[in-house]
């Protein structure tokens, strides 16, 4: 493969990895505080993309519609916690997990019934989808914008976690919920903030995904959610930086497998998950992960 094409694939991989990373952050944060694998998280991403789509359909500009999508998804995220997860705080973890799967099915089917299952065309504005080329390399502007924004967001999330009071409370929750409550901190409020941040990031990931692959449907979150979850595990679930690293690794693997062995393109998911198994065999806690029972970010 010549250098230019390799470079092009590398950039594509970074763009795909960014979307996984954004969604993986939500998985990892919720897991950190609640020890819950929030299976509805991929569907929150779908909600974000759909709300943006409807915003644009009703005449809003792309930016406003995206804002609507992000806020809407954050609200849906908070609501799922309030309605479905909070009543089960003291229930066994497995009940919580099954509830999460239930919420996932509920969101998928609700959107299918309301808006139909036919893929809808997502029309992103010209300035993001425009393609420019340097020599043989063709690039939509989005593949530059997406990783950049992802890294900025990562910086913001890390800032919140390590430099603000709320961040300190979130990290404390991850260690021990009961003690945190005894300290007079409103744990439910902090958990709400975690869901809000996670869902908003998922929505941003969903909008990026819709810009890159302009066809959205109610089941779009299933596979992406699964891959983002794999990314979170790969990076070490519970670790935000790990989630981002995991996302990028997964994105690169997927793209490079197909680039190097185009005949095997149909099996790229298999390769991605095979790679995940391989890493976990040698480092069961993931790349950035430590002992699973110790909370951390």
């Amino acid at each position: 493969m010549d250098m230019q094409i390799f470079l092009q694939q590398l950039i594509n991989g970074a763009s795909l990895g960014s979307m996984y990373a954004l969604i993986a952050i939500g998985y990892t944060m919720v897991y950190g505080v609640l020890r819950l694998i929030n299976f509805a998280h991929g569907d929150i991403m779908m909600v974000g993309a759909f709300l943006t789509y409807f915003g644009m359909e009703s005449g809003l500009s792309f930016e406003l519609a995206a804002l609507l999508g992000i806020i809407g998804a954050a609200i849906v995220g908070i609501l799922t916690d309030r309605i479905a997860y909070r009543p089960l705080r003291d229930a066994p973890k497995i009940s919580l997990l099954i509830t999460a799967i239930g919420i996932s099915f509920f969101l998928e089917n609700l959107f299918t019934v309301l808006f139909g299952a036919t893929p809808k065309a997502f029309k992103a504005p010209e300035y993001i989808t425009k393609v420019f080329h340097i020599g043989e390399i063709y690039l939509p502007i989005s593949v530059i914008i997406i990783p950049t924004i992802t890294l900025i967001i990562l910086a913001i999330v890390l800032y919140i976690l390590y430099k603000t009071k709320y961040g300190m409370a979130i990290r404390a929750l991850a260690f021990d919920i009961k003690t945190v409550k005894l300290m007079g901190i409103d744990a439910d409020k902090i958990i709400m903030i975690v869901f809000m941040i996670g869902s908003a990031l998922a929505a941003i990931g969903g909008i990026f995904y819709a810009i890159s692959y302009p066809s959205i449907d109610p089941l779009m979150g299933v596979i992406v959610g699964l891959k983002a979850f794999a990314a979170a595990v790969l990076g070490g679930i519970g670790s935000v930086t790990g989630a981002v690293i995991g996302g990028f690794i997964l994105g690169f693997t997927e793209i490079l497998v197909v680039a190097l062995f185009p005949e095997l393109g149909g099996y790229k998911d298999a390769f991605a998950f095979f790679f995940l198994i391989l890493v976990l065999l040698f480092k069961p806690t993931g790349i950035m992960g430590q002992d699973l029972e110790r909370g951390r970010f």
């Binding site: 094409i5 092009q8 694939q9 594509n12 795909l16 299918t112 139909g116 299952a117 036919t118 893929p119 809808k120 065309a121 029309k123 393609v131 080329h133 063709y138 939509p140 995904y209 890159s212 692959y213 302009p214 066809s215 449907d217 089941l219 596979i223 997927e254 793209i255 490079l256 497998v257 197909v258 680039a259 185009p262 005949e263 095997l264 393109g265 149909g266 099996y267 790229k268 998911d269």
Partner: protein
């Protein structure tokens, strides 16, 4: 009173034994899921045909029972079992995707219930089956039409894009390759995709390196739309040719300008509708839905028409309109049925022998190019 009289009259017509009853046809379609457009368009056509005629000459009423399989093989098989065991249908109509029809066919065969698929083109759907018939042509023919059209237009080097998850695509790719190489063309590369995938940049790069004259895409429209868009974004200007799985409005909606020039083979184009049956259907379709009549709907309407005509023959033979054996025999012996998509004759394998059309996307519309006879 008049109703009573007509029932009596109908009863007398039918050797005085039976009262007018309901005859159930089970319809299995992907009404939701990734390929929902297949199901939705099929249903639209079916409804036109149903509204036109749903009473048999002996007064029996046809009832359609729709089951949504979400485009999933397992669900399709479950749907057939439900239709047979719970609803006791006389005939099964469906599916669109060959993989799903193949999951249904063995169950219909085992229960000796006639099944007709309006749009599954993979040869294995009917292969070795006595009770499975189809209203459409099969992929070896469709693949040959694609190959011939490409070669006739001077495109001698092809990359084939196969959807590894779909039997339809695997079979069609094989048929295309065979006809294309036999006609003097060269397959420079085969690229695999999976239905449900959205990122094809790597495949596009592989195609770009192979530098073909034509890209033969044998999958379905959701992937076609994203692939052609990503190919054009990456500067690949090679024309695409597809088959009956891509000609849906979603192709244009999702791919936008990138879809321009996409050629594909299909069963029907309303611009080529010349027979009275076709004209009547197109007119009714425009009136009801206010948009262009597509091939899936037309095929579904034809399959429905073939079932009704088989039932009428049974009535003439003095048998019940829901006699499964009789319906099946008459379906399999369909000869020169004047359908919307052309004249349909069923061969010894249960496959329809009929012509194909070639269309092309132009200014966002599906323009008729030519008709190819078997």
């Amino acid at each position: 009173m008049r109703k009573f009289a007509s029932i009596v009259a109908a009863g007398l017509l039918f050797s005085g034994v039976a009262m007018a009853k309901d005859v159930k046809i089970g319809v299995v379609l992907p009404l939701t899921g990734q390929i929902a457009a297949f199901g939705e368009t099929s249903k639209k056509g079916l409804e036109i045909a149903y509204e036109k005629n749903h009473t048999l000459s002996n007064g029996d009423n046809i009832k359609l029972i729709y089951v949504d399989d979400r485009g999933d093989k397992v669900e399709a098989a479950t749907a057939v079992k439900k239709l047979l065991n719970k609803d006791k249908v006389a005939v099964i109509l469906g599916e669109v995707a060959s993989s799903n029809s193949m999951a249904m066919a063995p169950i219909a065969e085992k229960n000796k219930t006639p099944m007709i698929t309006h749009a599954s083109t993979n040869p294995r759907v009917t292969k070795g089956k006595k009770y499975v018939t189809r209203a459409c042509f099969i992929d070896p023919f469709q693949g040959a039409v694609m190959a011939k059209y490409a070669l006739d237009n001077g495109m001698k080097k092809a990359v084939v894009v196969t959807d590894a998850k779909q039997d339809y695509s695997v079979g069609l790719s094989k048929a295309f390759k065979k006809a294309y190489t036999a006609g003097g063309g060269e397959i420079v590369k085969t690229v695999l995709i999976n239905s449900g995938d959205k990122d094809f940049n790597a495949q596009v790069t592989a195609i770009k390196q192979a530098n073909p004259d034509i890209i033969a895409f044998t999958g379905y429209y959701p992937e076609a739309a994203l692939l052609v868009k990503q190919a054009r974004d990456m500067g690949v200007k090679t024309p695409f040719i597809g088959a009956d799985g891509v000609g849906f409005p979603e192709l244009v909606e999702i791919a936008g300008k990138a879809a321009e020039g996409f050629m594909y083979t299909d069963h029907f184009n309303e611009a080529a509708a010349t027979t009275p049956e076709a004209k009547e259907y197109v007119e009714a379709y425009h009136k009801k839905y206010n948009k262009a009549a597509d091939s899936m709907g037309a095929l579904a309407a034809d399959a429905y028409g073939m079932i009704l005509s088989a039932m009428e023959k049974c009535i003439k033979e003095g048998k019940a309109s829901d006699d499964k054996e009789c319906i099946n025999t008459n379906l399999r012996n369909t000869k020169g049925y004047k359908g919307i998509t052309g004249e349909i004759t069923i061969n010894e394998n249960g496959d329809a022998v009929k012509s194909a059309v070639v269309n092309e996307v132009k200014d966002g519309k599906f323009i008729y190019k030519t008709t190819v006879n078997p």
